[in-house]
Symmetry: C2
């Protein structure tokens, strides 16, 4: 070899960026059937690129919806196998008038690449493909074995991905999974995301009289459904933000002092400034960082009953409804938590009203990998080296359903190597991706693939 991988990527930077721009120019909006052909074209772009690099078994797998692309390269004898996941579909771009340049005519301004999908997730998928190309063109091989799935339905719920994963477990066997579809806590701050929260929810309706009643003529005879629901909802959580549902915290891992420290060191946004609240209010005994990252939450997403217009309408409302969701941590089973809440509510249902509970059908377990796991350490080191800054370790209050699926199905670590920034405007006008994250990210991937090969 006369050229190393790093140099190859530097020397071919313009061509590769041009190729990425070509990828980003395809309006692969999965939610809009008008773009069905474009979504397919983006799938072909990925499949063709994989074939060009030298991947085998490259296939456009038909699903009930948009196809997914599968490919593999398994000639790194003795080296581990990674299952790499990403998506080539994008969010819609409207309102178009809020974009400073056309969402599907990529443009570089102020060191950022502007286009729908630049960060989520075409840009980050492309980085892996470029690095694979560089390895093949310089060393003639990849450092590890790669199985790759790039789907076209992430932005619409991955409905067809999950059955595909379940039905092809043998084909997809790997030592670990890898996803680059997330971001860093701050621009330039290498971030190791090692945990995500799970999710469950339900809707509860308190049914009172068969119609709204005159509060003068019926007040004193009939239980007020909104008052009854307020009592029920208030009983779910203490004022100190602890959830009051019996058994809710059973099985939740205690936070190790060392992990608390990791979390509290992580730079997070100034919530008072960004949300306008008078003060933050974490669970008693925990910091905001700890609660957001590692403690379960129970939130009321909506509550409504009775009159909502201007002024006064003296009624006893016929019914009242609340929408409740929880973010869960390792040790909590979504179905069990759902049942505990339902039991809690049913036990406390006052007489004079009836309770109707609709469990939310979607749920997910929390995901967490040991931050000391060698793969995570290697990922963190690769990030630190390329960005020349110590990596922070964080867990996220949100959920990424595919991570939970991969975890549950394959029982392998899932490494989340995200290169986005909080300023990327994901799912909004003017989505962008900073070019220095792109450049340094390529170095991270080279470092990481090399490291895990041993």
């Amino acid at each position: 070899m006369t050229q190393d991988v790093y140099t190859y990527l530097q020397d071919n930077r313009d061509n590769l960026l041009k190729k990425l721009e070509e990828f980003l120019s395809i309006p692969s909006i999965s939610t809009d059937r008008t773009y069905k052909k474009d979504v397919l074209q983006a799938g072909h772009f990925v499949a063709d690129y994989l074939k060009d690099i030298g991947f085998k078994q490259v296939e456009i797998k038909e699903t009930g919806g948009h196809p997914l692309v599968y490919g593999e390269w398994l000639e790194a004898e003795g080296a581990p196998t990674v299952l790499f996941y990403g998506h080539y579909d994008v969010q819609p771009a409207d309102p178009y008038e809020l974009w400073d340049s056309d969402p599907f005519s990529p443009e570089i301004r102020d060191g950022k690449l502007f286009a729908r999908g630049a960060s989520d997730d075409k840009g980050q998928v492309f980085m892996h493909l470029a690095v694979f190309e560089a390895f093949m063109k310089t060393e003639g091989k990849l450092p590890i074995n790669v199985k790759i799935i790039i789907e076209g339905e992430e932005e619409i719920g991955s409905e067809n991905l999950y059955p595909f994963l379940a039905e092809n477990q043998n084909m997809l066997t790997a030592d670990f999974a890898l996803i680059s579809d997330s971001g860093m806590v701050e621009k330039g701050q290498p971030t190791m995301l090692y945990g995500l929260k799970g999710f469950t929810g339900l809707e509860v309706t308190v049914q009172g009289p068969n119609r709204d009643l005159h509060s003068g003529l019926y007040g004193g005879a009939v239980k007020n459904p909104v008052m009854a629901l307020s009592h029920l909802i208030a009983s779910l959580k203490h004022e100190n933000e602890q959830v009051a549902v019996a058994g809710f915290y059973d099985g939740v891992e205690a936070l190790k002092e060392e992990e608390r420290q990791l979390m509290n060191e992580a730079p997070i946004e100034d919530y008072v400034k960004t949300t306008g609240v008078p003060t933050t209010v974490p669970e008693e005994g925990y910091t905001v960082n700890e609660h957001i990252m590692a403690r379960p939450t129970l939130e009321i997403n909506g509550l409504y009953g009775g009159y909502q217009g201007e002024g006064t309408k003296t009624i006893i409302p016929s019914s009242a409804t609340a929408k409740i969701t929880c973010r869960l941590v390792p040790g909590q089973d979504p179905t069990v938590i759902q049942d505990l809440i339902i039991q809690h509510l049913k036990t406390r249902a006052p007489k004079g009203v009836t309770l109707d509970v609709k469990p939310e059908p979607l749920s997910a377990k929390a995901y967490k990998v040991d931050p000391d796991h060698p793969l995570i350490q290697k990922a963190a080191d690769s990030l630190a080296k390329a960005f020349n800054k110590e990596t922070v370790f964080v867990r996220l209050g949100g959920s990424i359903p595919v991570v939970e699926q991969l975890d549950q199905l394959f029982k392998i670590p899932v490494v989340l190597l995200g290169f986005g920034t909080p300023e990327d405007n994901l799912h909004s006008p003017n989505e962008s991706f900073p070019l220095d994250h792109y450049d340094k990210g390529l170095d991270v991937l080279i470092n990481f693939y090399n490291e895990v090969a041993h």
Copy 2:
């Protein structure tokens, strides 16, 4: 005299009913400016009738809105003076297609007179005029002195009546007030309504973040406004229906055993059947009848915050609002109660959110007259005699603002002699008034006017 008052009314029944139908044919809908002339015409009908009977000082008093009719007959030397109040305006009649006969073409079917205003309040006002006519035509005089106000804006809030009352207190001096604008608890069941509840209210908004937030990314940092509001609302009332606001019951008269008995004997609707609730839920220590009639209530008329659509939206809502009203009993001051609730809420406002309270500008004190008062007893006896059934004594959970005004301004007893029934469809299509209530009601009025003369 060759003819007595009763006989006069019997002999002239057809003519008088025809005259009432003429009155009911005028579409005096006060809320709709299109009917301004008709409202005025109905006022003239009343004024002309009073003049024909022999009332003096009959005047159509201009107000900022529809005029009110005033008249007096003060020649019953040594006898007391009544201030009689009623209204000649009516509710709109739409939806017209739900009427079985034209709302302004009165029709008698099944022993009922169908027309808008038949019961509320033209029919009942007319009964007094007919009785006055009968007295004048047979005895040449009325048994007592009469000052009469019939307004044209009751159905739109009596905005101009209250200033008129306040500005003309000397002219309107009387020994008691009399109103026939209510009903009986059951058809054929003479009912003495001797108390009404007062009213106050407020709206409270809990303001959290400046926009709806992602529940995964912000849950644990930010107080949930809907949860905060649920805690506040739940704190207002115990589960046994007692209001938990400190001072709320201060000054409320204890119910005498004898009054409790009166209330519990009153036939009231079968609330489980009419409203579909599993069971009624009165305040602990009181029956439904007692709570409805004589105990104050606090109701949530509406509550809303966050997502209300189908399915799930995982947000922390930006704010939540509740509308609260109370029905008050004698001894409670609306302004004091409003302040107590506001204080209660403000004291309990949790950190992390701000509270915005809007006091409801309209309020009214409760009204109650001693059921043993001679006037009330005479009214009850007059009812019992004409309907040949013992009179029940009830208080109402609702409010009639003009009663409170008369009470406050003139400090005289207000006698509520109502002849309507629960089946009259007030404010609804097919309003009607049973002719036997009309006929017996005339006898009641003769009895009553004769009785109070002594």
